[in-house]
Amino acid sequence: MKIITVKYFAMFREHAGIGEEVLSLDAVTAQDVFEQTRLRHGSAEPISHCKVAINDAMAEWNSTVSDGDTVLLFPPVAGG
């Protein structure tokens, strides 16, 4: 198990009711974190529409997460 700080943004934060939480997860990749917190952030979005960052750097869904990492889950973005 890894201790991961998960941060939620925009619609994910509204659904979760919190901006971040520290969780103990059995996760290897960023995608595992997304899937294991799906009930929390309530995303019905395909993961391909969402983005992820690890420790404030943009990452891929197959990026490895380590104990102590902060994983930022971004719902579909819409700048401009």
């Binding site: 960052a53 971004f74 819409a78 401009g80």
Partner: protein, 145 residues
Amino acid sequence: MFSVSDKAIAVAELREHMSAPAAGGFCVFEGWVRNENEGRSVERLEYEVYEPLAIKEGENVLAEAKQRFPYLQARCVHRAGILEIGDCAVWVGVAAAHREEAFKACRYIIDEIKTRLPIWKKEHYVDGDSGWVDCERCAAHGGGR
């Protein structure tokens, strides 16, 4: 330079800082808040920006644009917070030796800013409802971008 502002974008002031002796063309794009989206009347918009990464990724976009379409100066400012109809939500300015680079770099920057930066747009409708805009979905439907 890419920046995020929680106040009205000072368009005239930004333009003043774009001049360069070697520049023969200046292209600007302003994204404005529209009163309608996908058939619904919009009252105002709310932008949420995760600033640390938006700035990092915004600077990456400007650097990529420079590599592809060598320009002399480029600047982009994106709003955060509550915006009313007609407000400027994003400003992109590019000065280049020739119009070709200025147009192309400007187009590249706004297109990438819309789909890559951690920025979210919530529409508040006239009927009191509200909803987050999904650019991926509206791109798939061929409209609204």
